[in-house]
C-alpha cells in the first residue's frame, strides 16, 4: 500500500519534527472541529436515547422496553473512534477503500450479487402465496452472505500482505502510528462494505418495490404485463402504498422499504464485528486459518440466542443445561459476538416495524464488541516485529 500525503501539506514540518517520538502529526484545527461536531451529534443521540429513544414505538412491545447505562458504552466508543480518526488514519482509510474496490474479485462479487438481487423476483414461485416473505428472506439473506464474504476475505487480507510485501515498513517509517494504521484499515474496510451494502441493498429494495407495485398496484389497476403498466406507475404506486392489510404488502410498499432499509442498516453491526474480528485474527493466524475461524465464529455468533437459552440467560430463565456443560455454554455465550442481534428478518416477515430503540441498543452493543476486537488487534499489532 502506498499512503498518499496527509491532506494538509503545511504539516510537513510537523511530520519531520515528530518522527522521533512516533506520535504522528498534529491535528489541524478544522479537522478537530469537525470531529467535535460529529462527537456532539453522537452525544446528542445518546442523550435522546437515554431520555426517550429507548422506548418502543407506539403499539409495539412496550413491556420489554429497557434502558441500561451499558447501552451508552457504545455511544462513548463511537465518539472515541471519531476522536482517534486523525487525518492520517483517514488517509489510510481512503487508500484502503480505493485498493479494495479495485480488487477484481470484489467487483465480481458485487456484480454477481447485483444480478442475483435484480432477478430475485423471478424466484418467488418457490413460495406461492408468500411471495413477499420469500423476497424479503431471499434479498436480505443474499445480501448478508455476500457482504459477509467480503468482510471476512478483505479483513483477513488487509494487514498481512503489507507485512509480507514489506510496505508496512515504509508506512510506519512515516508519521503514522500503529493505532492510526489499524483504525484506518478498519475504517477503509467499513467504507468498502458500506458501499457494497448500499449497492446491493439499493438494488434489492428497488426490485422489491417494483414487485409490490406490480402486484398490489398495477395488477389491480390494469392487469397486463409490466411494460403495459408503466404509464400507470404513479397510480399503481399509490395503490401499492396503501396500508390496507391486503395484497403482498400489508403495510404498503413505502413502509416495507423503510423497514428493509433499517434491517440492512442493522446488518452493518454484523459486518463491523466480523471486519474487526478478521483483522484481529489476521494478527495471530495465517490467512486461510483466519478465514475458517472467522466463519466458525460467524456460525456460532448467529446461534448466540441458542447458547443463551441453553445456559438460561434468556427466555423462561430455566437453564436447559446443568453442571460443567452449562459453564461451557455460559463461557461461549460470554465470549461470542451475538451476531443474531443484528438479524431482524423474523421481524420483517411479520410486517412489524424495526424500532429505532432496538437499532440503537443493538448498534451500541455492536460498536462495543468491535472495539474489543480492535483493542485486541492493537495489542498484538503494537508488539509485532517486522
Amino acid at each position: 500500500m502506498a499512503v498518499s500525503s496527509p491532506p494538509n501539506s503545511s504539516n510537513r514540518e510537523l511530520i519531520s519534527s515528530q518522527l522521533a517520538d512516533n506520535r504522528g502529526i498534529a491535528i489541524p484545527a478544522a479537522w478537530r472541529t469537525g470531529q467535535f461536531v460529529l462527537m456532539g451529534l453522537v452525544a446528542l443521540l445518546a442523550i435522546w436515547y437515554a431520555i426517550v429513544g429507548y422506548r418502543s414505538p407506539a403499539g409495539d412491545t412496550g413491556a420489554a422496553d429497557n434502558f441500561s447505562p451499558f447501552d451508552l458504552v457504545g455511544f462513548a466508543i463511537a465518539m472515541g473512534l471519531i476522536f482517534l480518526t486523525t487525518p492520517t488514519a483517514w488517509v489510510v482509510a481512503t487508500t484502503t477503500f480505493h485498493e479494495a474496490i479495485r480488487r477484481r474479485w470484489v467487483t465480481a462479487l458485487l456484480g454477481f450479487a447485483v444480478v442475483m438481487l435484480g432477478v430475485s423476483t423471478f424466484f418467488t414461485w418457490m413460495q406461492p402465496g408468500s411471495q413477499q416473505k420469500f423476497l424479503r428472506d431471499y434479498g436480505l439473506g443474499f445480501t448478508v452472505i455476500m457482504t459477509l464474504i467480503a468482510a471476512v476475505f478483505l479483513g483477513v487480507a488487509l494487514i498481512t500482505p503489507e507485512i509480507e510485501r514489506r510496505t508496512i515498513l515504509t508506512i510506519l517509517s512515516k508519521p503514522v502510528t500503529r493505532a492510526e494504521f489499524l483504525i484506518g484499515k478498519y475504517l477503509g474496510l467499513m467504507l468498502t462494505l458500506a458501499l457494497n451494502l448500499a449497492v446491493m441493498g439499493g438494488i434489492f429494495m428497488l426490485s422489491y418495490a417494483l414487485f409490490v407495485v406490480q402486484k398490489d398496484g398495477a395488477d389491480a389497476l390494469t392487469g397486463g404485463n409490466f411494460f403495459a403498466n408503466l404509464p400507470h406507475l404513479p397510480q399503481a404506486y399509490a395503490l401499492a402504498n396503501r396500508a390496507d392489510g391486503l395484497g403482498v404488502s400489508l403495510n404498503g410498499v413505502g413502509s416495507d422499504v423503510v423497514n428493509l432499509g433499517r434491517a440492512l442498516f442493522l446488518h452493518m453491526g454484523t459486518l463491523s464485528i466480523m471486519a474487526a474480528f478478521a483483522i484481529m485474527l489476521s494478527q495471530f493466524l495465517t490467512g486461510i486459518t483466519a478465514i475458517i475461524v472467522s466463519f466458525v465464529v460467524y456460525f456460532l455468533g448467529q446461534s448466540a440466542a441458542y447458547w443463551a437459552r441453553l445456559s438460561g440467560g434468556s427466555g423462561t430463565g430455566t437453564p436447559v443445561l446443568n453442571g460443567p456443560i452449562r459453564t461451557i455454554a455460559d463461557g461461549v455465550y460470554a465470549l461470542l459476538p451475538h451476531l443474531d442481534t443484528f438479524d431482524v428478518r423474523e421481524r420483517l416477515v411479520n410486517d412489524l416495524p424495526v424500532g429505532l430503540n432496538y437499532m440503537l441498543k443493538a448498534g451500541s452493543a455492536g460498536v462495543t464488541y468491535t472495539a474489543v476486537m480492535l483493542a485486541v488487534a492493537y495489542f498484538a499489532f503494537s508488539e509485532r516485529e517486522f
Binding site: F70, S130, D137, Y138, L250, S303
Partner: protein
C-alpha cells in the same frame, strides 16, 4: 511491553464485560417473555423462536402419546416431540448460519416431492424441520396440521398392521394423529398470531375433524375473525390475474354455524341477528314472523306474499281469509329482502329464519323444561309430521289454486317442500334431539333410566354419524358413550339409514319418540 498496550488488553476485557452486561436488555427486547412469561409458543419480538430448542432439550421429559408413522407406534407426548432424528445436517446448517428460511424452502420442496410420490410418512420429519427452521412459514404449519389430521389419519385405517390390530388400535392412532395435527396448528397460530389463517384452521380442524364444538373452538374462530386479514379474498383482476380484496365475514357465519351444530340456537340466532345483521329487537320480532310463516307453510310462504301482492282486490281478500296475518308476513318478507339485499354483505337472514322455523319451537319448550314436548316436536319436524310442522300446507295448496296452478304442479311443489324440510332439518335436528336426551339423562336419578336415556342419546348421535360420515362431533359423542357404557354399534340404525340412501337422500330421523322404558336394561 509498554503499559499502554496492557491497558489496551485490559480495556478490551472491560469492554467485553460491558458488552455482556448490556445483553439482558437486548434479549428482553428480542423475546416477548415480559409479555407472555408462561406461554410456550409465541412470536418473539425481534429474535427467532427458541421453542424448538426447549423441546429438543426436553424431548425425553415429555409424556403423552404421539403416533410415529415410521415405526407405526404410539409414543411421546400429547405434543409433537422434536428429536435428534429430525436434526439433519442441512437443518443444523440452516439454524447455525442464519439462513434458516432458505434451507426451509429447500426442505419444503423435498417434502412436496414426497407428497407427489405418495410417500406421506417421509414428509413427517421434513415438515417438523421446516416449521422449526422457518416458524413464519404459514403454509408449512397449515400443511403439517392438515397432513396429520387428514392424510395420516386416513392412512392409518388402511395400514394392514392396524387393520390386524382392530378398531380400537385404529381409533387410538387416529385420535393421536388428529391431536398431532392440532398441535401443529396450535403452535403455528401462537407463533404467528397476527394472521387469521392458522387460528381459523386450528378452530376448523378442532371442530370438523376432532369434533369439538365448544367454547375453545369459538374463541379460536373469534381470534381469527379479529385479525386484519380475516376477510381477505382473492378475486380475478381486470387482466385475468388474481388480486386480493376484502370479502365477506365468513368467520362470523362460521361461528353461527358452530352454535347451530352444538346446538345452542339462542347463541346462533344472536350471532346472526345481532353480530352480523345488526338487527334491532323490533326487527328480530318481524323476522320471527317470517320464521313462524316458514314453520307453517315452508319456504313457499314467499309465494303467498307474491300472490297477495300481485293479486287483485278479490284475490287479496281470498288470501287474507286464508292467511289472516298476511300483512305481517308480507312486512317480514320485505324486511328479509331488504337485509339480504345489502350490497356486499350477504347477510345470513335465511339462516336466522330457518332456525326460527324449524328448531325454535322445540327450543322454547326445552327452555320451559318441557323436554318430552321438545322431543316430540323435533321428531315431528324431522319427519314433516303436519301435526308439528308445515301444518299450513293445505292453505298453501289453496293459494296455489288461487294462483291458477295445475293440480300436478301444486302436488309437485308441495312434495318438494316436504322433502326439502325433511332433508334440511335432520342435520341440526338430530344434534338437538340427542342433546334433549342428554338433558333428560342428566336429570334422571334412577340409574336404569339414566342408562336407557344415555342409550337414546347414543343412538341419536349414531343416527347423525351414520347419516353424515363427516360429522365428527357425532362420532366423538358416540365414542364417549361407547367408552362410558360399553354401547356397541346399533346395527338396526346403520341398516335403516343405509337402506334409506337407496332413495337418494338419507333419512336418519327416528319415526316416533321411543318408549324409553323399553330400553331399560339395555
Amino acid at each position: 511491553m509498554e503499559l499502554s498496550k496492557w491497558g489496551a488488553l485490559a480495556g478490551a476485557g472491560l469492554l467485553l464485560v460491558s458488552y455482556n452486561l448490556a445483553q439482558p436488555g437486548i434479549n428482553r427486547l428480542r423475546d416477548t417473555d415480559a409479555i407472555h412469561p408462561k406461554t410456550e409458543a409465541k412470536r418473539e419480538a425481534y429474535g427467532p423462536s427458541l421453542v424448538w430448542l426447549d423441546r429438543l432439550a426436553r424431548a425425553s421429559d415429555e409424556g403423552g402419546t404421539v403416533y410415529d408413522p415410521r415405526t407405526n407406534k404410539l409414543e411421546g407426548s400429547g405434543k409433537v416431540k422434536l428429536d435428534f432424528s429430525v436434526m439433519s445436517s442441512l437443518m443444523v446448517a440452516g439454524l447455525a448460519s442464519g439462513f434458516k428460511s432458505q434451507v426451509a424452502n429447500l426442505l419444503w420442496m423435498k417434502s412436496d416431492e414426497y407428497w407427489h410420490e405418495g410417500l406421506f410418512t417421509r414428509q413427517v420429519p421434513l415438515m417438523e424441520a421446516v416449521v422449526t427452521l422457518d416458524p413464519q412459514f404459514i403454509d408449512a404449519w397449515s400443511t403439517a396440521g392438515w397432513h396429520w389430521a387428514y392424510n395420516i389419519y386416513a392412512d392409518i385405517a388402511t395400514n394392514p398392521d392396524n387393520i390386524k390390530g382392530g378398531p380400537a388400535v385404529i381409533r387410538k392412532k387416529q385420535e393421536a394423529a388428529v391431536a398431532t395435527g392440532l398441535d401443529y396448528l396450535d403452535r403455528g397460530s401462537n407463533i404467528n398470531p397476527d394472521t387469521y389463517r392458522l387460528w381459523f384452521e386450528y378452530g376448523w380442524t378442532r371442530a370438523e375433524k376432532a369434533g369439538y364444538y365448544d367454547l375453545k373452538t369459538v374463541e379460536l374462530y373469534k381470534t381469527a375473525r379479529s385479525k386484519s386479514d380475516a376477510r381477505t379474498i382473492e378475486v380475478q383482476g381486470p387482466g385475468g390475474q388474481m388480486v386480493k380484496e376484502k370479502g365477506l365475514d365468513i368467520l362470523g357465519r362460521t361461528i353461527g354455524h358452530l352454535w347451530e351444530r352444538v346446538p345452542d340456537f339462542d347463541k346462533a340466532q344472536d350471532q346472526y341477528a345481532n353480530d352480523l345483521i345488526g338487527a334491532t329487537p323490533a326487527q328480530r320480532q318481524i323476522l320471527n314472523v317470517a320464521g313462524a310463516a316458514w314453520h307453517r307453510y315452508g319456504a313457499g310462504y314467499t309465494d303467498i306474499v307474491d300472490v297477495y301482492r300481485g293479486g287483485d282486490a278479490v284475490t287479496k281478500a281470498d288470501v287474507k281469509a286464508l292467511v289472516p296475518n298476511i300483512e305481517e308476513i308480507a312486512a317480514a318478507q320485505d324486511l328479509r329482502q331488504k337485509i339480504a339485499g345489502q350490497t356486499g354483505k350477504d347477510q345470513p337472514v335465511g339462516a336466522y329464519i330457518t332456525i326460527e322455523a324449524r328448531y325454535m319451537p322445540a327450543w322454547r319448550m326445552m327452555k320451559a323444561d318441557d323436554l318430552d314436548g321438545a322431543i316430540n316436536e323435533m321428531i315431528g319436524v324431522m319427519n314433516v309430521n303436519e301435526k308439528f310442522h308445515l301444518e299450513g300446507l293445505p292453505v298453501l295448496k289453496k293459494i296455489y289454486e288461487l294462483r291458477g296452478d295445475s293440480p300436478a304442479t301444486i302436488e309437485t311443489a308441495l312434495t318438494r317442500t316436504r322433502a326439502d324440510e325433511k332433508t334440511s332439518s335432520q342435520d341440526l335436528g338430530l344434534h338437538f334431539l340427542a342433546k334433549l336426551y342428554e338433558m333428560k339423562e342428566e336429570k334422571a336419578t334412577d340409574p336404569t333410566e339414566k342408562k336407557a336415556l344415555a342409550m337414546q342419546a347414543y343412538r341419536t348421535w349414531y343416527r347423525s354419524r351414520a347419516r353424515d360420515a363427516l360429522d365428527f362431533y357425532a362420532l366423538r359423542k358416540t365414542r364417549v358413550y361407547e367408552d362410558k357404557y360399553g354401547f356397541t354399534t346399533p346395527d338396526d340404525i346403520v341398516a335403516e339409514i343405509k337402506k334409506s340412501r337407496k332413495g337418494g337422500v338419507p333419512d336418519a330421523a327416528p319415526k316416533t319418540a321411543p318408549n324409553v322404558s323399553g330400553y331399560y336394561g339395555a
